[in-house]
């Protein structure tokens, strides 16, 4: 007997009709037809189990924030590794910089999560905006987007035991970003993170990480951020330690004034 018609196999798989005598005999001997029927039956079974999969709940926004934080950290790693090499070496040598994408020991297992209060501060829409443009854009110091007006600014000064030559400034631009300039940050074994702090209750949230000891970055703010409350800009030294909270080691601080 020749192979069963494919349409026929589909209908048998759906239980639309029973196999007739000749068909049963053929299926008993033909592995190809039997395999196809079994595959179709399996797919029909899967199809029946898809009910309810249409309306799956959306994942919570903090997962997205974690994704962006982890990606930003991973992409910032090569330059930080380079900074560390230079700092531990005997001053600037003629050594070539680490190749981008070179094996980095810490990156893969690293996982950062925003703490719960941070996620409550940031609405889903705001976080989406942060996420999409979350990667730090390094801007040219000589041309700091002259068309942007400054809504508020803060000179940043060395905090605590930070060497006094460390400094910087933060300027909140009309497009909702903070233009951050830092200079002479002390070398750290981890990385730098930028925070907005409410000085009344010391609540805070992270607005991004920095790649280098001196330079500029544009950090997007959540559009609903209350700069009256979260008025202190803080740059901290962070370790790759899986702890998303502020390390407590502030390097620079300054208060925004509008």
């Amino acid at each position: 007997m020749q192979h069963l018609d494919h349409d026929r196999l589909v209908f048998l798989a759906l239980g639309e009709s029973q196999a007739e005598h000749g068909e049963t005999d053929h299926l008993g001997t033909c592995a190809a037809c039997r395999g196809e029927l079994q595959a179709l039956q399996h797919v029909a079974g899967l199809g029946a189990e898809t009910q309810g999969l249409r309306e799956l709940p959306e994942p919570p926004e903090h997962i997205w924030q974690g994704i962006m934080a982890e990606i930003n950290a991973a992409e910032a790693l090569p330059s930080l590794t380079e900074a560390r090499r230079q700092s531990t070496g005997a001053g600037p040598t003629g050594e070539p910089p680490a190749a981008p994408g070179a094996a980095v020991p810490i990156g893969a297992g690293r996982r950062r999560r925003w703490s719960r209060w941070a996620t409550t501060l940031v609405t889903a829409a705001a976080a989406a905006a942060v996420g999409v443009v979350g990667t730090l854009a390094v801007v040219d110091r000589d041309r700091p987007a002259p068309q942007q007006a400054v809504l508020a600014s803060a000179p940043l000064a060395a905090y605590g035991t930070t060497p006094k030559d460390a400094n910087g400034d933060a300027r909140v631009l009309t497009d909702g970003k903070v233009h951050l300039h830092v200079a002479n940050l002390p070398n750290v074994s981890g990385y730098y993170e930028v925070w907005l702090i409410n000085p009344k209750n010391m609540e805070m949230f992270s607005i991004g990480t920095l790649r280098s000891r001196s330079g500029d970055a544009l950090l997007p703010l959540p559009p609903n951020v209350d700069l009256q409350a979260y008025s202190v800009v803080d740059v901290s030294a962070e370790q790759y330690d899986n702890k998303p909270a502020h390390s407590g080691e502030s390097l620079l601080r300054g208060a925004l004034t509008g």
Binding site: H6, D7, A13, E16, H42, L46, Q51, I67, V132
Partner: protein, 218 residues
């Protein structure tokens, strides 16, 4: 009876056959998300998350006992996908299939780690039986892939298949309920089934190599 042949077109649905006649809104049109993702467009990452994050999370939540583990796996899946986007080949399968494949491996890693922990605890405490295991990740991936394809089918094919799958109607009953001629019902179902099967073969977890140690009753 309509004649637009669907058999043999590319599994990625880049070229859905125009069977015309109807003007129903066609769900997810072919787009370039996969290509943009691979090219490193950050907006594509967010779009992929918006579209497929729930499927990846569903895979993790339904196979892992711990909600926090499931969220970790979802996060790690998208991070790994983004950092490894160079290895994604849109010609070999869909983006959601690729993402679910990454998620599936991470789920299996977690399950193995949990099984190791359980064994240690059992050895220490001399407990009798291990905790019951959740659903097989491969089966969950297969369901999600089939559900995605079902959602992409032309409306009439999808409607007929849903009546057959969910309501267990015969083709004759479907014809009666919908007022569509029996021959047309049959052809919609035949084409829809062919698309589902092809997609399952491309993106499903089962046809590929099975991981050792996770038998998964199928």
């Amino acid at each position: 009876m309509r004649t637009g042949a669907t058999v043999g077109h590319a599994p990625r649905k880049a070229t859905r056959p125009v069977t015309a006649v109807r003007h129903e809104p066609d769900p997810p049109p072919p787009d370039d998300l996969a290509e943009r993702f691979r090219a490193g467009d950050e907006r594509a990452l967010r779009e992929a998350y918006d579209r497929y994050g729930r499927a990846v999370l569903h895979l993790a939540v339904s196979t892992l006992a711990n909600r926090s583990d499931a969220e970790d796996v979802t996060q790690a899946t998208f991070v790994a996908a983004w950092l490894g986007r160079d290895t994604f080949d849109p010609a070999k399968g869909s983006l959601i299939g690729w993402l679910l494949g990454i998620g599936r491996r991470k789920v299996i890693d977690r399950l193995r780690a949990a099984a190791r922990e359980t064994r240690v605890v059992e050895t220490v405490r001399q407990l009798p039986e291990p905790a019951p295991t959740g659903p097989d990740p491969d089966a969950v991936v297969d369901r999600l892939v089939v559900a995605d394809e079902l959602a992409r089918l032309p409306d009439d094919q999808r409607r007929m298949l849903e009546l057959a799958f969910y309501d267990d109607l015969t083709h004759q009953q479907i014809a009666t309920v919908t007022g569509v001629p029996l021959g047309t019902v049959k052809s919609h179902i035949r084409r829809g089934m062919a698309s589902l099967k092809r997609r399952w073969e491309v993106d499903g977890a089962a046809p590929g190599p099975r991981p050792a140690g996770l038998s998964g009753a199928r």
